[in-house]
């Protein structure tokens, strides 16, 4: 690890100006659970680290006209403890709960998890299934986009060096939308996902799938939507057979890798099972159970 300068921002605007001033070889410090490890292993070699942990405008969870807004600095523990999220978005609570250990969840932030952008991130799938958007702020103002656009590749987002992620917004139309998240790792605690998956759905007339959104993690360069499975389900009757078929179709949307943790073939098996189960659980949630 090489020496670097450390500056602290008290607002998003100040962070942006500090990043512009010191860039481009700058990194942002939020929870630090990824960055500190990377600094020690010299994956990053910044001239300046900009600490944003004191930027109050990046904190807080609130429901407003736009929907549910979660500030980028909200920690995983805060998501797990928030009464509104617990009541309306159990999938987000499940996802937060599977991240790291208690200490990681106490420090690690939602924004950090998204910006670090590893394919196996646990925050991504449930948010993507709920069609979450992010707000990115830079010297020229702010822009909003879906997560599909925000994620570019492994450890790569659209963020420029002088931009920060402000918040994540679940649109108002999806407030309370039944959704479920499941993760499969090699153990129960402190595990990387081999596959994770989330589904969100409304139950349409005649017990049919309506606005089904399915998202998968750890099976492609970024978290992805399982479009073929979604298209198949839309308007069809909600049956175990259709859920199983959606699982099989979700496999076609993914490009899982073969590595020492698991074979691609086993990951494909998991995609089918997890997709089916998240659909089933989301449906049970819609039925009030």
């Amino acid at each position: 690890m090489r020496a670097f300068d450390f500056v602290s921002a008290e607002s998003a605007d100040q962070a942006i100006s500090l990043l512009s001033e010191h860039g481009p070889n700058v990194i942002v410090l939020a929870g630090g659970t990824d960055i500190l490890v990377d600094l020690k292993h010299a994956k990053h070699d910044p001239d300046v680290v900009v600490d944003i942990t004191r930027a109050e405008d990046l904190k807080g969870i609130e429901v407003n006209d736009g929907g549910l807004r979660i500030g980028a600095l909200v920690t995983h523990t805060q998501i797990m403890d928030d009464p509104y999220i617990r009541e309306n978005f159990p999938a987000l609570v499940h996802a937060a709960h599977t991240i790291g250990a208690v200490q990681t969840r106490n420090l690690g932030t939602l924004g950090g998890n998204l910006v670090t952008c590893v394919p196996s991130m646990d925050s991504g799938p449930a948010l993507m299934a709920l069609e979450a958007e992010v707000t990115v702020a830079g010297p020229d103002g702010t822009r909003r986009m879906g997560l599909e656009e925000f994620f570019v590749g492994p450890r790569k987002t659209v963020l420029e060096h002088n931009e920060v992620l402000l918040d994540v917004i679940i649109p108002r139309k999806n407030l309370g939308k039944p959704a479920d998240f499941l993760k499969f790792g090699l153990r129960k605690g402190q595990a990387l996902a081999l596959v994770n998956a989330a589904s969100a759905l409304w139950v349409g007339e005649g017990n049919t799938f309506k606005d089904v959104k399915i998202s998968l993690g750890a099976v492609a360069p970024t978290v992805i939507r399982a479009a073929a499975a979604e298209d198949f389900l839309e308007g069809r009757e909600i049956t175990p057979e259709n859920m199983a078929e959606a699982g099989r179709l979700a496999v076609e949307d993914a490009k899982p890798i073969d590595d020492f943790r698991a074979s691609a073939s086993y990951r494909r098996d998991l995609i089918a099972v997890l997709t089916k189960r998240t659909l089933d659980n989301a449906y049970r949630l819609a039925q009030g159970g």
Binding site: L186, K188, F260, R261
Partner: protein, 340 residues
């Protein structure tokens, strides 16, 4: 979707190997304030052995464990020890300590006998006193006897001893001999839940019954059994060193070398089966490594009971279990058995 099964694993395990020298040595001195100092080469690795060894010295001297100051594992000052290995510390080092403490105690008896007007063999050490057997009111505080041994009799109360498990050489013709001093026995029963669609094995519960000779410190024995089972669970379903084609480990870190977290641990029920062994210190044998031996067999038998899939090479990862469930023809047995 999820199926439950139960399985059993039984084992015996040798304590105190004799095929090569396996000595421990100790010095015990009784101080003028009635405390004792134990000097031993063995090292504490978190299992609590220094507590147990202090208990052995205290019991022999008739004082409290709190009264024993243990000095250990200082290569400048302590005797060499074969090591905190092979589940031998309580048995081998404990025997050396008991012998050393007995020597120090005999000096105290020799010094106290004329003071109490009896023969040394009529004395016992108990409740921090040297007292006449059957007449405990006829007694002296152990510190007073130790002070008199030092300052009056001129025979300081200390003893040194070593212990090496008795050797019976292996007969080169028949291969017969006595390779180990004693043996311990255990049975563990595991209950698991297997996800038939993912192959994931959840270990729900393990009941473990272990013979360790006399349990000198039952809470530490229980802790060792619990710790050993956590290693056994890792061995059964998670832990595996993976290597590339050139022999370099692919997973040389705790992110990718998977071992159990507290969330992966089953409910544990531990039963200590005490079984006095006349060759051990106060009848004790050992409990270290044996605790992890039966676990993986019990878990793999439970997996078979749950889903009918036999796993012949560990760990029984979810991927491997799912493959076995899918094949179910058990022909993969050939793959994992040694040739011939």
């Amino acid at each position: 979707m999820k199926k439950r099964g139960k399985g059993m694993g039984c084992m015996w395990y040798p304590i105190g190997f004799t095929v090569m020298a396996n000595p421990s040595a100790a010095t015990v001195k009784v101080n003028e304030d009635g405390t004792a100092t134990l000097i031993t080469g063995t090292v504490e690795t978190g299992q609590g052995s220094l507590t147990v060894l202090g208990q052995i010295a205290a019991e022999e001297l008739g004082i409290s464990t709190d009264d024993v100051h243990v000095v250990s594992a200082d290569t400048d000052a302590t005797p060499m020890d074969t090591g905190a290995i092979a589940s031998r510390t309580t048995y081998v080092t404990g025997n050396a300590i008991q012998l050393a403490a007995e020597k120090a105690k005999n000096i105290l008896f020799d010094v106290a006998a004329p003071m109490l007007g009896v023969r040394p063999d009529q004395l016992e050490a108990k409740d921090r006193r040297i007292q006449v057997k059957g007449f405990p009111q006829s007694c002296l505080p152990i510190g007073e006897v130790a002070a008199h041994a030092q300052n009056g009799a001129g025979t300081p109360a200390l003893g040194s001893a070593s212990y090496n498990p008795p050797t019976v050489a292996m007969d080169p013709e028949t291969g017969q001999g006595k390779p180990f001093s004693t043996y311990v026995y255990a049975t563990q029963i595991a209950e698991v839940e297997v996800d038939e669609e993912t192959g994931e094995v959840e270990v729900l519960r393990i009941a473990a019954a272990h013979d360790c000779g006399t349990a000198i410190n039952p809470m530490l024995v229980e802790g060792q059994i619990q710790g050993g089972i956590s290693m056994g669970v890792g061995m059964a379903i998670q832990e595996e060193m993976l290597f590339d084609d050139e022999g370099r480990q692919i997973n040389p870190n705790l992110t990718n070398y998977i071992m159990p977290t507290s969330l992966d641990m089953p409910d544990l029920e531990v039963d200590i089966v005490e079984n006095f062994d006349p060759t051990g210190p106060f009848g004790a044998k050992g409990v270290g490594e044996p605790t992890a031996v039966a676990t993986s067999a019990a878990i793999c038998n439970a997996i078979y009971d749950a889903v009918g899939a036999r796993i012949y090479n560990l760990p029984a990862t979810a991927e491997k279990v799912l493959a076995a469930i899918k094949s179910k023809d058990h022909s993969d047995r050939q793959k994992y058995l040694p040739a011939g």
